[in-house]
Amino acid sequence: MKTLSRQGLAVLAMAGLLAAAPAGAADGPIKIGALYMLSGSAAAYGKFAQQGIQLALDEINGSGGVLGRQLEVMFEDSEGKAATAIQAARKLVYQNGAVGLMGLDSSGVAQGLVPVIPELERALIITHAATPDVTGKLCNAYTYRVSVNVHQNMKGAALVAADSGAKKWTTIGPDYAFGHQSWEFFGKYLKELVPDAELSSDPSFPRFGAEDFTPFINSVMEAKPDGVLISVWGGDLVNFVRQANNRGFFDQGFQVLMTVGAATEVLTALGEQMPENVWLGTRYWYDSHDTELNKQFVAKYRETYKAPPSYNAEGAYVAIYAYKQAIEKAGSTDGKAIAAALKGASVNAPTGVLTFREGDNQGLIGPTWGRTAAMDDALKIRSLADIRNFSGDEVTPAVDAECKM
């Protein structure tokens, strides 16, 4: 029985309809594609990126746009899955006419998407995902990163840890690239600074998105380390802290370092439940940079969104400006030209001047670490004391030998 007729007609008809959609007139807006987690447990991160992007777009478009054209950003949900992100990237480039891509909340997604980027011939500016592989063994001429990677953050963490005097360390981290690499590099840098440090042979890696951390909390408490590195993030970190509080985890006297603890949505959700005297790291802390640009950025963000900007918002904001600069330097909207124009570029960011290192396209930037202190009554989140803004030079290792561009 032949059953092809309707299907054939339908497919051809729809193909025709969609093919008729205009590909984007020459003086229409310049489009950039953004891939973030817009659904699921970590959707807040995508939301913050959207907000940071909107702020940048309003500023840029309000003052004449780029090359006389408006700048537009199209969002696709990566769903935290590499397969989805790859499809979405192809769609953004081939269907929607994106001249450049940005995004990625998940290191796992980054590891999947980055090798595919050169085929698309568009730059990808990573604003969140921290796996060093994308500027290491997976590096390519099209992939750039404005945000702190695991090496940089863990070097900062190691410096904080070394100063604390704690010798026996373990970790609780999510069971994927980010968790494992955080522990690996933390251990490496700590050993360099404190040769007699002891690293647990039995660290805990709960599944990303696990709801229940109590087995791991119990396990660590039994092991009685001097210090714990927590690289759990987002909703998981909120769950972890609350469950840990219930078990008296933070009263045991060990140093606690949370690698991405100073994320605004985590701090807001936890409020007072975020304990005092733990060290929190972040790619960007709104209150620790004295530059004019930061003050403006934070003020405008707070006015528009009634909350201080998280690091994802700031990273996305910087990426948009990086694109503006690159497009103007290239003088065209050709994807390859823009990617080339980003090489070695220096962008004015709220944290200061950010430069893409030529060897691996990693932004030379450092994390901010601080110790939780009293509650900020206005914002209802913990404030940070003893803030350390690490500079890119302090914490960035040499270009990975495996990076060959």
């Binding site: 817009l38 939301k47 709801e211 087995p215 039994e222 909120v238 609350r242």
Partner: protein, 290 residues
């Protein structure tokens, strides 16, 4: 030694929370022969509605515990009238598919209504903090509440099914729908009531879980497979079986997470498969047979 005691206690509150969440799924299958894929979404909805009651309307936790499940139950009645009434007479695969569609709709609706942020609900006053148990173990007070609540639900269900007219009607409708109809029982109403009851239980689970878990749009998906495992292990259609299944799963989580972290993801599914192969109706089940 205290490691084992801790793991045991941990298993207990995980298990009983799972029981409260999953028992509704069990009952709906037992009486209606419907596998409700959207059960996890209803649980999530319960948690979100409770959050709104507490954070926005300023109600106390206890009021939210009453209000939120009722709201979700009313929604369930609506869903039953609009969607599910078409497929009760059909094969099981249709109910799986339709409730899957419901899951997609609810998931997205929650995200649209409440946004993407992470929300937090505090345990009620009096149940915050920890208590000291013999042996020097500190146990969160709220976990104790969860355990007690689990037994309350168990007791309530036993009373409902064995001592009340409504419960007996439900069991009758489960055993033989036509006969029940012949006896002038309004089976359509019973069906709606049972589905709403299942949703009420799921939402109750959501409210009880809310102080223990971060409330985010991914909650529902995480719990649905767990619920299936509980229901399969314990026995489709048997609510004491749901308790057994929940405790087994709780033990797997509590001990597996602690002592067998490398394979703790696979264990529950192996358990599920083993039970299905040896006793498909579950360890205590007496559900539908083909």
């Amino acid at each position: 030694m205290s490691g084992i005691a801790l793991a045991l206690l941990n298993s207990l509150d995980i298990g009983l929370l799972l029981f409260i969440i999953a028992v509704g799924l069990n009952i709906v299958f037992g009486v209606l022969n419907v596998i409700n894929f959207a059960h996890g979404a209803l649980y999530m909805l319960g948690a979100y509605v409770a959050y709104s009651c507490i954070a926005i309307l300023g109600l106390s936790f206890w009021l939210a515990l009453i209000v939120a499940p009722l709201v979700v139950a009313m929604l369930a009645v609506l869903v039953d009238r609009i969607m599910l009434r078409f497929i009760y007479e059909r094969e099981i695969s249709d109910s799986l598919l339709l409730t899957f569609a419901l899951l997609l709709i609810l998931n997205e609706s929650v995200r649209q209504i409440w946004g993407t942020g992470i929300h937090v609900v505090e345990p009620p006053a009096g149940f915050q903090g920890t208590i000291r148990l013999p042996g020097g173990i500190t146990y969160p007070t709220y976990s104790l509440f969860v355990v007690i609540m689990g037994f309350v639900v168990l007791g309530g269900l036993w009373y409902l099914f064995n001592r009340t007219r409504l419960g007996i009607i439900m069991r009758a409708a489960a055993l033989d729908r036509e006969m029940a109809q012949a006896l002038c029982i309004n089976t359509k109403r019973v069906i709606t009531a049972v589905f709403a009851f299942g949703a009420w239980l799921a939402a109750l689970g959501g409210v009880v879980a809310a102080p223990m878990r971060a409330i985010d749009p991914g909650m529902g998906d995480k719990i649905i497979i767990e619920s299936f495992i509980v229901v399969v292990i314990g026995g489709l259609g048997s609510f004491p079986g749901a308790l057994l299944g929940a405790i087994v799963l709780g033990l797997l989580h509590g001990f597996g997470g602690r002592y067998l972290p490398d394979i703790n993801l696979v264990l529950p599914f192996i358990g599920m498969a083993v039970v299905l192969l040896i006793k498909p109706h579950g360890i205590m089940g007496k559900g539908a047979v083909t």
